[in-house]
Amino acid sequence: MPGSPTHLGTVQDVQGATISVALDKDTVSGLAFIDGHGYRIGQIGSFVRISIGFTDLFGVVSQIGAGAVPEALLAAQPYGYRWMKVQLIGEGQRGGRFKRGISQYPTIGDEAHLVTEHDLTRIYGMPDAPNCVKVGSLASAESIPALIDIDRLVTRHSAVVGTTGAGKSTTVANLLVSLSDPTRYPSARVIILDIHGEYHAALSDRATVFRVNADESRGEKPLFIPYWALSFDELLRVTPFRSVGDADRAALAEKVKELRIKSLQKQARNGVTPDTLTVDTPIPFSIHRLWYELYRYVCSTHTVGPGANQSEATEAIEQDSNGQPLLGDIMGVSPPKYRPITSGGANRVFLSGAQLNIRRQILALESLLRDTRYDFLFRPGPWCPTADIQNLDAQPAEDLDTLLRSWVGGDRPITILDLSGVPVSILLDLIGVLIRLLFDALFWARFLPEGGRLRPLLFVLEEAHAYLNTGNDCPASLAARRLVKEGRKYGVGAMIVSQRPAEIDPTILSQCGTMFAMRLANATDRSHVTGTVSDNLEGLFNMLPALRTGEAIIVGEAVQLPLRAMIEAPAKNRQPDSHDPLVYDPSSEGGWNRPKQTEDYPKVVENWRSENPRRTPTSGGTP
């Protein structure tokens, strides 16, 4: 009925899911008032309802104006009428629920109506559904909450993309605060891989923070990644052995396996026997002993030639003033001292006959093991096995179960693995290791109460473009690819957060069922995002450059239908520590307008040397 206040115009042209509506001459441009609410007519991204009998079809306005005139009519009416292009997205029985997909199409002359708040409530569902969390409100109607179905959000993966400053971190913080609400979801569990340490502040009371150089006075726990939990390939990648030849590699694998078997013989561990053990089985072995034994094998000198039977008994070890051999110290990473080779004479000293070309790598491993920056990996606290010259090797005090419990079974729903203290050279490898370790743990535990099927885990990958690059075969990319492809079956979900979606492997991005697209100015990024979403909603995505800060287009499985939402900013104390520094600070606390102050550069150097940005002389920090 043309008299209805919601009436916009009539359908004139139908092409698949795209329809053209001629706006009615009587339709007032600008505002329409319905039930006391004002609605702007013909807003891009707003919804349109088309009634056909007892069914209502819903669509999104993607284009408006003379350009939306159907091609056939271009010549006849270049301006004249006002037109609107609408993308159909779903339907609902009158008074019933909204469903995605179209069972029947509109035809010429069907009426198009404005969608009122009443209709929107019908589409977007009820705010009290137990599986839905509110992330904000619709940008077009503030009274309607934007609801996210957490079932789909977690297991079907999601991506949050947007330019720096568009509100990504705020969105993620908001989602995580909702997901970790202890009254609604007491068993929620989320792991954040935070490479810049932004989320401590926002989630301090809900999250356990693990960090290299942890500041225990702030409640942080030390991050340990026991090297022996790594697979052989991963171990090679984080040590100087990454580039050894095939023959040397095989010898190393044999050696690592031998050490793992010895350890297992000392202390039996459930689930594995020396016969079923592989070089990748996470059984503790001492990398210090590996280094020491390789050193003695390759770098030693002997009293008999390489052709003769060289053994530890023939080693030409120097002696101290008391006649004791200088055997070095395994945990102190000091090698035994050998006599130099001689070219002749009665006590001729020969080179080792070892046929491995890894001498330089062994020496490099020596300095790596001495490097305190790598202690979280090679001396992982209670998970560090010790080795001793007298063969009094000790097993680590703790096994992997306590490590996993501290990461995914803690008292708090969120675990932040703050990687800001990890040396950059092995960061990519370690991210791969972390994802792989946790995925493996949940994969094998899939039928247990703590496994992923019964208690799904959400992985938040912050700044994902840094390690999930296109065409990059780095371990982080491989692990993340596996996570997004197979994770759904084992209850492991990923949330990928990035400001450069174009740099993320398209395989990974296209597996994300839900997309939170914030403002994106870069055309490459935009086309990348538009290309990976399943809905044919280019019109909606054309708005990306013009979104307000904190505004997101949410499409995909976790929402009933694409929506443009204003994400609620979390409370002041829950905002991530990611806002830009102020160059001009009106409060004059910082910035260039502040009066110059005396600066303590010795402190700068102290923090730098201790690799701890928050080091204070009173707390002592960790050296």
């Binding site: 390759v298 080779i341 020969f350 080179l351 080792s352 006959g353 046929q355 070309n357 001498r359 330089r360």
Partner: protein, 69 residues
Amino acid sequence: MNRTPVSSSNVVSIGYDPGSLTLEVEFTGGSVYQYFDVPEAVYQELMRASSKGQFLHANVKNNYRYTKV
């Protein structure tokens, strides 16, 4: 590894990989040996030496660990 043919009574060809400091020598008779941790200077001296066999015997054999390929 690519080996360069050399004129010598008992050495057929010599190759060197500066990345892994490996010297590879093919002797007459077909046996190939790799010497490890050989500095590039030694390789260059070897290539300049008038007698490869003598140089190898004096400066390489017994000074570097090796394997038969």
